[in-house]
């Protein structure tokens, strides 16, 4: 610019030269102004402007899942086909989200699949069904056999849904439409994932070992501060005015039984740290998650359905509850845990 700028020492020239310079300056000024305006709008358009300048929060920064962006995204509900198969997918989804209604005869508590498998089984790190479907059949040490998806779902009904307390007294029989529709839903959701590979986001994710041994006393404080608002001070959940379960019971007669995976502190702690409180996953530290999971485990719940006939509580404890993190068979606050309830209480009132 200095070359075109009149130098300080040169006196003003004749009028014609002055007019030329003014014209050049005018062109330069307008051209530069336009360029600046275009550049400015481009910067705004591509979101390169700093947020303090625009006063807007950048959208990607607001998303807490930036690091999880490469996880599998199941297809949206709107893509369920409108044919016989799609109808089965929809029925499966309805069973998944309202299990006590749509698989009524086989549910012995107030829970639905979607209480723990969040977002109708789509949420990563809350054991999403798209991460489970591609890795079955597989061998499970829990029942020492190769499990098909149907076997696996049967296990869910037996333990997590406490089928022993259901109207039929057990899980759906093999070949039931309940399995057929649920598997349609899982299969539809897993489209595009490679068979036989466990995708990222499977299960409840990893959780660090706690620095201190988990304590139910500390856990009680964590519970009161973070969980009781929704699950109730007594942990028995909350219903709406119609009696529909809105917040699931964490223990007590209408929760999952002593054979369910969620009763293990390690599973519950991982689930809690990655998913609870809803909308604030990761709020609790690993230590807090372990403490509150331990507190959760130290309450009565329906009995382990494997403890039948002549098997005593002590034998069942040895056989299926060896883990030291387990309160099964112990006496807490004067209550022997694992004995269940005199007779299966009916689900809901």
């Amino acid at each position: 610019m200095s070359s075109k700028h009149p130098s300080d020492t040169t006196p003003p020239g004749p009028d014609s030269a002055k007019g030329g310079r003014t014209a050049i300056r005018a062109i330069l000024a307008v051209g530069g102004g336009l360029t600046l305006a275009v550049l400015g709008s481009l910067v705004l358009e591509f979101g390169l402007a700093p947020s303090w300048l625009t006063g807007q929060k950048s959208v990607p920064a607001a998303s807490p899942k930036g690091a999880m962006a490469d996880l599998f995204t199941p297809p949206p509900e709107s893509t369920i086909p409108n044919d016989e198969f799609g109808a089965s997918v929809r029925r499966g989804m309805a069973i998944f989200t309202a299990t006590g209604t749509n698989a009524h005869d086989f549910v012995g508590n107030n829970l639905s699949c979607s209480n723990c498998h969040l977002d109708a089984g789509r949420q990563a790190f809350s054991a999403p069904m798209w991460a489970a479907y591609p890795v079955y059949p597989k061998y499970r040490s829990k029942n020492k056999m190769v499990n098909t998806m149907e076997d696996r779902i049967k296990g869910c009904f037996t333990y997590s849904m406490n089928a022993q307390g259901s109207p039929s007294g057990g899980p759906p029989p093999y070949g039931s439409d309940v399995y057929r529709d649920l598997q349609s839903y899982f299969y539809w959701m897993s489209k595009g994932l490679p068979i036989g590979e466990t995708p990222d986001g499977a299960g409840f994710g990893k959780i660090d070992k706690p620095a201190l041994p988990p304590s139910r006393e500390r856990g009680a404080q964590v519970f009161a501060a973070n969980c009781a608002v929704c699950h109730g001070k007594d942990g028995l959940g909350q219903t709406d005015v119609n009696g529909k379960t809105v917040f699931p019971p964490l223990w007590g007669p209408h929760s999952f039984n002593w054979g369910a995976g969620m009763h293990k502190a390690s599973s519950a702690a991982a689930f809690i740290q990655h998913n609870m409180p809803l909308s604030e996953p990761g709020k609790l530290s690993a230590q807090e998650a372990w403490d509150v999971a331990t507190f959760l485990d130290s309450h009565p719940r329906p009995k382990d359905p494997r403890q039948t006939g002549a098997i005593t509580l002590q034998e069942a404890d040895k056989k299926w509850h060896k883990s030291s993190e387990d309160f099964y068979g112990e006496t807490v606050d004067g209550v022997v845990l694992g004995t269940g309830y005199p007779k299966p209480a009916p689900a809901a009132n």
Binding site: M1, R25, G33, L36, P64, G100, T101, V229, K244
Partner: protein
């Protein structure tokens, strides 16, 4: 200085700058000035266009709701396709996609003995007035509250839904015309919801046996005094109704109060009084209320049933709003509204207020206040995170969707106990 110069520019004054004349204004200053001018003009044009656009959209929406609201506008015979769509939009979030209900909570509409006895006309009666109290359907006991849809559905829409439920879900040969629904609307003006199965027995011949009514008693004298406080106010307490409306339905950013849980209302009044929820007018009112008055007002509005005073007004995307309310958006860590606030936004317990038929401007405003931190009295700060995760469009979408829902009926069962020993705090400064 300019004045002197103008008087005689040839005579430099004592502030004469020998380098002033050749030093022209640097080009970058022109650039910035011109760029700002361009930006200013473009922004002006854009915003005036947007306002114009918004007005047009609102006008279109107004016309649409007007045509929906007036039963005379559409006399075309309802087809079951429309009925099915209306059922999906208005009924399925509680009664299930196939009308299967919810075990032990919400009665089924599919192959239901009550519907088979009553037909399309009885369905219209129940949709129009709502129903609450003990009821037996298909030998199962229910004791819930279904809201009245009279303020959110037109006669044509109610007729289409009733026909769909009677014919498609129950295989009946029973229909009802919009004109018949209009008669039902006239006859049931201002009537309370049907009183459970006992109430239906007077409507439907051949109804299976029903439980006895649990009808609430007549309002106590205190309730009448509270009603006067709410509607008239006193010398130093503004009347609630002057802002919240005669029927507690709210307007603009003033919320609907009717049917909200008394414990929630009382907590908010305490928070206003303590300053943990900020509003100058509400702080003024709350500080002049005694503990007893707070409890009685909370019970008064909690038990109040009134028609919806809200309708979508923020140009929100209703489909997106429905998605947020029913399924949430877990990619943003936003669970469904109804996961905590109850099916169809009827509210749960003391901590999760009802959202159905709430004023859309109020909801959007509160969500923005949670996001910005101006409101911060939610349990665990849950709403702050959700408010921040929602975009402006999302807030308007969900507010508009909630405004389209039928209001939850008032519920006297959730009333707080009025303790006579509570100390009077009327004179707190």
């Amino acid at each position: 200085m300019s004045k002197k110069n103008k008087q005689d520019p040839r005579l430099p004054d004592e502030t004469f700058e020998p380098y002033e004349e050749p030093r022209l204004i640097p080009l970058p200053v022109y650039w910035i000035a011109i760029a700002l001018a361009i930006w200013g003009v473009v922004t002006l044009v854009q915003t005036s266009n947007a306002g114009h656009f918004a007005d047009k959209e609102r006008a279109a929406l107004g016309e649409k709701t007007a045509s929906v609201a007036s039963p005379a506008a559409s006399t075309a015979a309802p087809d079951t396709g429309a009925g099915k769509a209306l059922f999906a939009d208005n009924c399925s979030s509680c009664h299930g996609d196939a009308g299967e209900g919810v075990a032990d909570a919400i009665p089924p509409l599919h192959a239901s003995d009550v519907i088979k006895a009553g037909g399309a006309s009885a369905i219209s009666q129940i949709v129009m007035r709502g129903i609450g109290g003990p009821l037996i359907v298909d030998k199962a006991n229910y004791d819930g509250e279904m809201p009245s849809f009279s303020s959110v559905l037109s006669d044509t829409e109610i007729a289409a839904i009733a026909d769909y439920v009677a014919t498609d879900l129950n295989g009946m040969n029973s229909t009802v015309s919009p004109d018949q629904v209009a008669e039902i609307r006239t006859a049931s003006e201002d009537m309370d919801p049907w009183d459970g199965g006992a109430g239906l027995a007077s409507l439907i011949n051949g109804l299976p046996p029903q439980p006895a009514s649990e009808n609430a008693s007549a309002p106590s004298p205190e309730a009448t005094a509270t009603a006067s406080l709410a509607s008239q106010g006193t010398a130093n307490i503004w009347s609630c109704a002057s802002c919240h409306g005669d029927k507690g339905e709210g307007t603009q950013t003033v919320p609907r109060l009717a049917g909200l849980a008394p414990a929630y209302l009382a907590k908010q009044l305490h928070d206003f009084s303590k300053g943990t929820r900020i509003s100058d007018s509400m702080a003024y009112v709350a500080k002049s209320l005694s503990e007893t008055q707070i409890t009685e007002l909370a019970n008064y509005y909690g038990a109040m049933s009134s028609p919806s005073g809200a309708q979508p007004a923020l140009k929100g995307d209703l489909a997106r709003g429905e998605q947020l309310a029913l399924s949430g958006d877990y990619s943003k860590n936003v669970p469904a509204c109804f996961t905590c606030h109850g099916t169809s936004g009827i509210g749960v317990g003391a901590q999760f207020p009802g959202l159905a038929a709430q004023q859309p401007a109020y909801i959007a405003h509160q969500l923005a206040m949670w996001a910005g931190g101006a409101r911060h009295n939610s349990p665990l700060g849950l709403m702050a995170g959700i408010g921040k995760a929602l975009s402006d469009e999302d807030r308007r979408a969900v507010a508009d969707y909630l405004a389209s829902l039928p209001p939850a009926a008032g519920n006297a069962k959730t009333a707080l106990a009025v303790s006579p020993t509570l100390k009077e705090t009327t004179n707190v400064q």
